[in-house]
């Protein structure tokens, strides 16, 4: 991904920036060379042009002067050869005239136009004169018109005079122009130098500024990255990102670094969360282990405490059979109920039982206690038959009843009463064991509650705690366990979810 991005952004790379600087240098050098070349070419061409104009004009002037010598010769000495020479040389003047017009082309100045036209006039006049001279020489003496010849000759010489004056004016004008152009060229030569120096200076400055900018960008980027890495080293969890907007590899690197830091931070966070969860799980496992340890411990205690009853159970069965053989019915019943009670304890200890069986077991226990204490204690069962299907751990109610008997009404000589209740309340089933015994102080109740919740404390109320812990494990903590007590009353209230099975 980053490779692709880098390739895509190769145009913005540092090397590209450096290359741009080189191109800039080359460009400035090219402009300087162009300025020098064009400037010198222009100045040279201007000089050549001016010289060419002067040369062409001078050539025309020489040709006119030359042809006029033949005109003079032809007129003054009436020589045929001069007339022939004139005719031949006239073409040279026309050619020179053509050259002047050609060389000047569109920059044809008024003075030059006037000169060329005056030369044309001269040629027309001299041509007419030469022709007239030819007729004059061949004509009869009486028909010779000398005055008209003289006038024509004077005209040609006047025109030649105008040409000379015009040439003089044009030369003067041209020389002034040449001088002006030379001065202008000198001025522009100086301007070209100034432009060259200015361009060189400006170009150098631009290059320096440009490279300084590039180097500053690199230095700043490195500084930012170093600073950022330092911050990250100190605090991996900081949310700040490094921002580099140079648009080169540093920008890409910063972006990659930011992404990498984000990923690392996310992973660290994830690891920490997992660690926390694991720690909690570990704690829960330890807790469970402790609970199960406690449970097994209590079960072991129970088993140990039932070893003798089991032996007694066998013995009692044997005695019960003997009592029946001897017709001692009451003793036989007593033995039988005791045996049933012991059997329940022995067989169902580690099993889930129905509330109905639990109640029957409590009734067996109550029968035995009533036989023992006769009318000293009274037991009342208020059990909703519809609750009999509730499944719960074995030996929940009997220890509660035994507690009430031992700690509640034991000290009473008569009218000690214990109520065993089971009833529905909304979608829950409530079990209650109440006595009208001595009751407990509030402080004692508080200590009892703390003892029930703290598995590390062990004391005389281990049976109660055993009941509470087994119910919590069985009903997955969905157990309400309340102790209500005052003088003359102690009520153990247990609310359980309705988990009936038939």
């Amino acid at each position: 991904m980053y490779h692709k991005k880098l390739i895509a952004n190769i145009n913005r790379s540092i090397s590209r920036k450096y290359s741009m600087g080189y191109f800039l240098l080359i460009g400035i050098a090219a402009i300087l060379i162009a300025v020098s070349f064009i400037g010198s070419f222009f100045i040279t061409s201007q000089n050549q042009k001016m010289m060419r104009e002067l040369l062409v004009l001078n050539q025309l002037f020489i040709e006119v002067e030359t042809v006029n010598t033949y005109v003079n010769d032809a007129y003054l000495y009436l020589r045929n050869s001069s007339r022939q020479n004139y005719t031949e040389y006239q073409d040279s003047v026309i050619s020179a005239l053509h050259e002047v017009r050609k060389s000047l082309n569109k920059e044809y100045s008024r003075e030059i136009v006037d000169i060329t036209c005056t030369v044309e006039t001269y040629l027309e006049q001299s041509d007419a004169l030469i022709k007239k001279l030819e007729t004059y020489v061949t004509a009869d003496k009486t028909q010779r018109d000398q005055s008209s010849l003289e006038e024509m000759y004077n005209q040609t010489q006047n025109t030649l005079h105008y040409i000379n004056v015009s040439f003089k004016d044009v030369y003067s004008d041209k020389l002034i122009t040449v001088q002006r152009v030379q001065e202008a060229l000198k001025l522009w030569q100086s301007i070209i130098y100034i432009i060259q120096v200015t361009l060189l200076t400006a170009g150098s400055l631009i290059c320096i500024i440009y490279y300084k900018k590039v180097l500053d960008g690199i230095t700043k980027s490195i500084h930012k990255l170093t600073e950022f890495v330092g911050k990250i080293r100190n605090n991996l969890y900081q949310k700040e990102h490094v921002e580099i907007s140079t648009g080169d590899e540093f920008g890409e690197f910063a972006e990659a670094l930011n992404d990498m830091i984000d990923i690392i931070q996310d992973q660290v966070h994830e690891i920490e969360e997992n660690s926390h969860i694991k720690e909690k799980l570990h704690e829960a496992e330890i807790e469970n282990l402790r609970i199960y340890t406690e449970l097994h411990k209590s079960q072991l205690i129970l088993l140990q405490s039932r070893i003798n009853p089991h032996f007694l159970f066998n013995t009692l069965n044997m005695i019960s059979s003997t009592a029946r053989l001897e017709n001692a019915e009451q003793s036989a019943n007593l033995m039988e109920i005791t045996a049933n009670y012991l059997r329940y304890n022995l067989d169902k200890l580690s099993k889930a039982v129905s509330l109905r069986d639990e109640i029957e077991n409590v009734k067996d226990y109550v029968y035995l206690q009533k036989c023992r204490f006769e009318e000293r204690f009274d037991f009342h069962f208020e059990v909703d038959p519809n609750c009999g299907g509730l499944i719960l751990p074995c030996m929940i109610l009997q220890p509660l009843v035994e507690n009430s008997l031992r700690h509640g009404v034991n000290m009473m000589l008569k009218e000690g009463t214990i109520w065993i209740r089971a009833y529905r309340e909304a979608d829950r089933i409530c079990l209650e064991v109440e006595d009208n015994g001595v009751g407990m102080e509030q402080q004692k109740i508080g200590e009892l509650y703390r003892y029930l919740e703290d598995i590390t404390i062990e004391d005389e109320h281990i049976g109660l705690k055993n009941i509470y812990m087994r119910l919590k494990i069985f009903f997955e903590d969905d157990v309400v366990f309340k102790i209500d007590s005052k003088e003359g009353k102690t009520l153990i209230h247990i609310s359980l979810p309705n988990q009936e099975r038939e």
């Binding site: 800039l24 460009g27 569109k106 006039t121 001269y122 105008y162 004056v165």
Partner: protein, 324 residues
């Protein structure tokens, strides 16, 4: 940064291109171009020393500037002012150069007129400014209607003198047609105002010393004369320049033509007023008409009269200058 560099390079190139393409060209190639196809006019002025002919020349050059793509004018001057022989040479030279038109002042000189006639025969337009040669064919005159201007000056005379004056006229060269026409027009005012009497006519020959001599002579010989009229420019210019204030020998002095001297004369009260001819328009229209014939085959008219204006102190601005 990249954009800045790009723009700097582009700007540098544009500057360099502009430097060579525009500035150098404008400086070194500053020459007339394409004159071969233009109408070549030679204007032969008698001189440009005073405001009158320099103004005509300015008019000619203004027209050349306005029609620069069609007209090229070359102004020629004799080495000496009003040297007709040299002016004739200049005409002949223009004829030899086969120019398209010659603008000249009409001067009654045989050789001068013969050279002009030769030019006309060679197909060159001959245009008279300021002074007309009426019988020259083909004929075009651009300038003041001098007779009408003389009549206007007479009306101004009547106005400033309330129809009662003893007048002396100071003219230029004797028998010079323009001046004679002005005097003729001026004198017509007597028909309307019998109390305006023209007592004498003198000529100054266009020089200041003669003007001052005549000025004093008139007062000495005719002390009853209370009004002086200079129908030629030198008179008003001399009197206006010489006197810082009106010495009071003449109650009224009326003069001709715009010059620093005549304006100063109005400012000081030496002169009541001057007739100003639109000389700039003369030069301008002469070029326009030459072009008109070249392009359209004919002139607007054979005589094109330019404006004249009567200027008094009320026409000067707060600083005493005249702004046309």
């Amino acid at each position: 940064m990249k954009k800045v560099i790009q723009w700097t390079v582009i700007l540098s190139l544009v500057l360099v291109a502009g430097f060579f393409g525009v500035v150098l060209k404008a400086t070194l190639f500053d020459r007339e171009d394409g004159v071969r196809d233009k109408l070549r006019i030679t204007a032969i002025m008698p001189h440009t020393d005073q405001g009158y002919w320099s103004s005509v020349t300015e008019g000619i050059l203004a027209a050349e500037k306005d029609y620069s793509d069609q007209v090229n004018v070359r102004v020629e001057l004799p080495q000496l002012n009003y040297n007709v022989k040299q002016m004739t040479e200049l005409v002949n030279r223009a004829v030899a150069a086969k120019v398209n038109a010659i603008i000249v002042q009409g001067i009654e000189n045989e050789a001068y007129l013969a050279a002009l006639q030769k030019a006309a025969e060679a197909g060159i337009q001959v245009i008279f400014v300021d002074t007309d040669i009426e019988d020259f064919v083909p004929h075009l005159y651009v300038g003041t209607n001098n007779l009408e201007t003389g009549i206007m000056l007479g009306e101004k005379l009547a106005a400033v003198t309330q129809g009662k004056a003893k007048v002396a006229i100071l003219s230029g060269e004797e028998n010079y047609p323009n001046l004679e026409q002005r005097v003729t027009g001026l004198k017509k005012i007597s028909a309307q105002y019998p109390d305006i009497k023209f007592l004498r006519l003198d000529y100054d020959n266009y020089d200041a010393l003669t003007v001052m001599n005549k000025y004093n002579l008139i007062q000495e010989e005719n002390p009853e004369i209370d009004t002086l009229i200079c129908v030629e420019g030198t008179g008003g210019q001399t009197l206006g320049s010489f006197y810082a204030e009106n010495p009071g020998e003449f109650s009224h002095i009326l003069a001709f033509d715009y010059s620093e001297g005549t304006i100063q004369g109005i400012r000081t009260g030496m002169l009541d007023g001057i007739v100003i001819q639109d000389t700039h328009e003369m030069g301008y229209r002469a070029v326009e008409e030459a072009l008109n014939l070249f392009l359209n085959g004919g002139y607007s008219a054979n005589c094109i009269y330019t404006d004249v204006k009567w200027v008094t102190s009320s026409d000067l601005d707060e600083e005493g200058h005249y702004v046309p």
